[in-house]
Amino acid sequence: MRYTISLFAVAACLGSACTTFNNARPLAPGEHAAMVTLGGPVADVPGVGTIPMPNATVEGRHGVVDHLDVNYGVHLLPLAFGVVGGHVGGTFQLYDEPAPWVPVTSIGQRLFFFTNLLDPRKEQKDAYALSQTDLTLSWKLWDSLVYGGVSAYVPIDVEDRTLHLAPFVGVEVHPGLDWLRVQLEGRWLSPTTDQRFAVVNWQAPGDMGALAVNLGVAIEFSELFAVLVNDGKAPPADTDTAAIVTSTAREQP
C-alpha cells in the first residue's frame, strides 16, 4: 500500500488551495504583475522523503485603484487529473505605512473554483468552490517585505462549511533585479484538525493540520518595461513612455 498512498499525497495537493502568491500589499493603479508559485502542504512520501507537494499556480495581478488590486490564476496540478481550476480575488490595503516598523494591514479575498466537467473519463461530474480570506500585516525592511497573518478557508458547500484557519509568515525579496520578486512563505494549514489517522502523512506539530511551504516568483511588468526600454534608467520627462514607466512602478507604500 505504501507507494499507492504516496500518490494520494500528491493528488491531495489538489485540495490544498494554498499555493498562491501572497499579496500583502496591492499594486499601484495600472501596474501589472505575473506570478508563478510552486509548493504546497508537506507530506512524508514513502520512498522519497518529506517534501512539499508539487502544486503550481500561474497568476496575474493588476492594480485597480489606490490601495486595491485584483488577482486571478490557474492551477496546474489539477489539470493532470482532468480538473480545471482557477481563482479570482482582490486585496485591499487599509492604510499607508504610518511609520517604519509599524505594519501595514491588508485584507484579501479569493474565490477558488474547480470542476471535472470537461474530463470525458469521469462519469461523476463535480464542482468545488472554496473561499479564502486573508488578514495580513507587512513590514518593509530595506528593499524586502516581511509579512505574517492568517487565512480563513471555507468550502462553499451546502453540506460542509467548516472553517479552517491557516496562520502564515513570509518574506519577499528583490534578488538584484527591480522587476523580479521572490517570495518564500510558510503556512500552517488547519492547525485544529487532527490528522493522525489521515491517509496521507501530512507533516505538522502534533499531527494537527499540515505545514505548507510555497516559493513564488513575480515579474512586475512596469519595472521590466523600464529595463527593456530605458536600460533601467529614468526616461526623459517629455517622452510618452515616461508617463507609463514612472507612474506605475511599485506596490503601495
Binding site: 498512498i5 489538489l14 522519497v48 480538473v83 469521469k122 489517522f197
Partner: protein, 322 residues
C-alpha cells in the same frame, strides 16, 4: 521507489494531457524478472528467482504439502498460485481458504501470512496477480484485467480442489488482506458458483474500500473524490451485493486504510451476518516478526497474538466445516 519517482516526473506531462488519476496506481507489484537485492530479501522477504519454488519450509510448512497451480488467464498468460494442503489430521482439513494478498510486491512477501492461516488447520490456496512475483506477465493489470483474472482463478478453483483430492464443489472461504480485498470481494459478489460450491464465508483484514474513499480522505476540505478517481476499484459499492457471513478485522492504528474507511465498507455490506473486530493498537503493514522494516508496526495478527487470531479465524470458518 523508482515507480513513485517516475510518477512524480510524469506529472508535468500528465498536466499537459490531463490523463492522470489515482485509479492507475492501485497496485505496486514486484516481478521476479527484475531480480531482487539483498535488502529485498532481508527486509521484504523477496528472494526467490523466477522458476524456483518458494521457501515454504522457512515458514514451517512442509514443502511436500505445497503445490503450484498456475491460473490460466483469458489471454493465455498465467498467474502464479499455490495450494498448501492442510497438515495430515488437521481439524479443518476439508476447509479451503483462498488467500488474496495486498498490493505490494508478490505472494512471496506474504508467506508468513499464508503460513499463519495454514496453522489454523486448513488448506490455503494463495493467489498471486498479473505483474506480481512469478506470474508469466510482468506487466501490471488494469482494473478490468484484474477482475477478469480473478474470475479465471475462481472458475479454476473446483478443478484445483479436485486435483488435490478435495471435494470440488465444496464452498471455500475467502480471505482478503488490504488490497487483496479487491479480489476477495469480487469473488464473493460477482462470481457465480459455477461448478464449485460458492463462498462459505468472507474474511477481510484492513481491506481496501475504494479509490474514491481514499481520495476524499486525503484532503480535509471536502474535495470531491471524482476529481482524483474515475470511480474504480470500488469495493464499497460492490459489497452491497454480498449476503453471506463476513468477518472484518481492522486495527485502530491503521494509518494506511484508516479504520473509519473500513467501517464504511463494513456498513455497506449487504449482509446481516457480519462482525467487525476492532484491534486496539494494530497497524496496517505486513508485520514480519524479526524484520526491522522502518514504518511497519505490529499488524492485526501480531497485536492479537497467534492464538487469539486463529481462534477468531477458526470460529468464522465454522460455516465452512462439515
Amino acid at each position: 521507489m523508482n515507480r513513485l519517482v517516475l510518477s512524480l516526473l510524469v506529472m508535468p506531462v500528465a498536466t499537459a494531457t490531463g490523463c492522470l488519476d489515482l485509479d492507475s496506481f492501485v497496485m505496486n507489484p514486484r516481478h521476479c524478472s527484475i531480480g531482487y537485492s539483498d535488502d529485498d530479501c532481508a527486509i521484504d522477504k523477496l528472494c526467490t528467482p523466477c522458476g524456483d519454488d518458494y521457501p515454504f519450509a522457512d515458514f514451517g510448512i512442509d514443502p511436500a504439502l505445497a503445490t503450484r497451480h498456475p491460473i490460466t488467464l483469458d489471454d493465455g498468460e498465467t498467474n502464479d498460485a499455490w495450494f498448501i494442503a492442510a497438515a495430515p489430521g488437521a481439524a479443518l482439513a476439508d476447509v479451503t481458504v483462498v488467500f488474496s494478498h495486498g498490493n505490494f510486491a508478490s505472494l512471496e512477501h506474504y508467506l508468513n501470512r499464508v503460513a499463519l492461516l495454514w496453522r489454523a488447520g486448513v488448506n490455503v490456496f494463495a493467489l498471486d496477480y498479473r505483474g506480481f512475483g512469478q506470474s508469466s506477465d510482468a506487466a501490471e493489470a488494469s482494473e478490468a484485467q484484474f477482475m477478469s483474472d480473478t474470475a479465471a482463478a475462481w472458475q479454476q478453483i473446483p478443478a484445483i480442489l479436485a486435483a488435490e483430492g478435495k471435494e470440488s464443489n465444496k464452498p471455500v472461504a475467502l480471505y482478503g488482506y488490504s488490497a487483496g480485498a479487491l479480489s476477495g470481494v469480487e469473488m464473493a459478489v460477482s462470481q457465480a458458483p459455477a461448478d464449485g460450491g460458492g463462498v462459505c464465508t468472507l474474511i477481510l483484514e484492513a481491506p481496501w474500500p475504494s479509490v474514491d474513499a481514499f481520495a476524499r480522505d486525503s484532503t480535509f476540505i471536502g474535495v470531491p473524490g471524482s476529481f482524483l478517481s474515475e470511480g474504480g476499484w470500488d469495493n464499497i459499492s460492490k459489497i452491497r451485493n454480498y449476503s453471506g457471513s463476513y468477518l472484518h478485522l481492522h486495527g485502530t492504528d491503521d494509518l494506511t486504510v484508516r479504520q473509519t474507511l473500513g467501517r464504511e465498507l463494513f456498513d455497506a455490506a449487504g449482509t446481516t451476518a457480519k462482525r467487525f473486530v476492532s484491534v486496539e493498537g494494530a497497524e496496517h503493514g505486513n508485520f514480519i516478526a524479526g524484520v526491522d522494516e522502518v514504518g511497519v508496526d505490529p499488524d492485526v495478527p501480531a497485536v492479537l497474538g497467534e492464538e487469539a487470531y486463529l481462534d477468531l479465524i477458526v470460529a468464522q470458518l465454522a460455516d465452512c466445516a462439515g
